[in-house]
């Protein structure tokens, strides 16, 4: 019973995460959707704690639940979307949506199936660097792995994010110039 406790907690959290994820797409009100998404994020963060990855869990909470979802809420509130002002989607749009969603599901399933075999050697290689298995997710170990083994991908991703940020700024500026010429 006690040995199985993490399993039960996992199933409980997974149920919550999936339940709220379904609520996100079925809720009529966009603000409610956003709030359900926040709850989904929390359930996922709790799963990270279960895996002993406290740093990931707290970052999930700060970045996704604390910052990104607040921005989402902020935008939705500003746009003042209502259930009745939502445009009716044509059948073609729905069909395209089904295809895109199905392809994404296929991709995720494929990635997951492939990673089941791959995860084992990775998990086995970790104890070579870190003596205590339960400390894998702690911040020191994460730092070692990120800045030693994966320093190039890490830096590449940061440049990618920087370019996206600059792109957003440029796009935002362009609109402003157009507005002033219209005046």
């Amino acid at each position: 019973m006690i040995a199985n406790l993490p399993n039960y907690i996992f199933f409980f959290l997974a149920f919550i995460a999936i339940f709220f994820a379904i609520m996100v797409i079925t809720a009529k009100n966009p603000i409610h959707s956003c709030l359900y998404l926040v709850l989904t994020m929390f359930a996922i963060a709790a799963n990270y704690v279960l895996l002993n990855a406290q740093f990931l869990a707290i970052v999930q909470m700060i970045v996704y639940a604390g910052a990104i979802m607040v921005l989402f809420l902020f935008t939705v509130m500003l746009l003042n979307l209502n259930a009745d002002s939502e445009p009716v989607k044509s059948n073609l749009m729905k069909f395209a949506g089904v295809i895109v969603g199905g392809t994404l599901l296929l991709l995720f399933t494929a990635a997951l199936r492939k990673s089941i075999g791959d995860a084992e050697p990775v998990m086995n290689s970790i104890p070579m660097q870190i003596p205590n298995h339960s400390n894998v997710g702690l911040i020191q170990n994460l730092g070692w792995v990120l800045f030693k083994d994966y320093v190039f991908p890490f830096e590449a991703i940061s440049i990618l994010i920087l370019s996206a940020m600059i792109g957003a700024v440029v796009l935002g500026k362009k609109e402003k110039v157009q507005l002033s010429t219209n005046d």
């Binding site: 909470m61 700060i62 639940a65 604390g66 910052a67 607040v70 509130m77 911040i139």
Partner: protein, 337 residues
Amino acid sequence: MLVEKLIIISCVIGASLGIAMYSTLLERKLAAWLQDRIGPNRAGPGGMLQPLADGVKLFFKEEFIPANANKFLFIMGPSIAMLLACMGGAVIPWGNTLEIAGRTVSLQIANVNIGVLYMFGVVSLGAYGIMIGGWSSNNKYSLMGAIRAASQIISYELAMGLSLIALIMLNGSMSLNDIVAHQINGHWNVIYQPLGFLIFLVCAFAETNRAPFDLPECETELIGGYHTEYGSMKLGFYLFAEYVNMFISSALMSTLFFGGYDIPFVSLFGLSHNLETILGTVFLFAKIGGFIFLFMWVRWTLPRFRYDQLMNLGWKMLIPLALLNLIITAVVGLLIK
């Protein structure tokens, strides 16, 4: 073990609420003093029972929910605000260890190795209480207040986080307990990180929505801001959460920058361990009291910022300064090493 933790948890929650309660009286007394008035002096000797009277008044007022408000979220708003305000005290070390009957009792609820990030997470979630309350009231002034609060909290979180990174680099740990241990005997972080402390202080004012950054509840533009539609104890929770937040951020500033429970050179007197711990806790609360006084002093001294000034200060002044502080800390740290 569990009993010890339960006692400490009830003490911390009780202290947070009690101090927040008397902060409201202190705020009014201080305002009166700064404006050359007397202040509340009717309830009890010198007005000492005023917070109780206020609380009773708020509880006995009519529970009112506006007709077009979203009922569930309308109640959730102040609940979330209060819950998050009380969660902050969990990782702050309120004192060193006590030795009772051969057992060592730590005066900290949870010594997690990511204490700083936990505090940061609690602060960043604080926006939800205000946003949900403001939106569910179905009132444009409330909504404007909520949107202002959200953008303010997000903007100042960045500078706050950057100033914290420099602090973590200096101390080499994210556990608040380790950060205090690193500052023992007067090596307070404020000496090594004066700029970081100033940035953190300004951000703390903005994150707790205190004047001069209290734009979410700017009366002259927004009536009451996000709590315009609130009444009775639901309004009381919003106002109370602000005072609890003020207490927790004062405690955090004392812990991060002013040595926490450390009293410089106390080891020279050769006091017993328990006495030293108790004195340290008293000293920590004195530091917290000093910060609470500063919060109120600033409120009754400085006028409110304009909204664009607030955003300019956050994005164009504090973030570059925090980045500069970060780079200087990194370079000096490397050179000394």
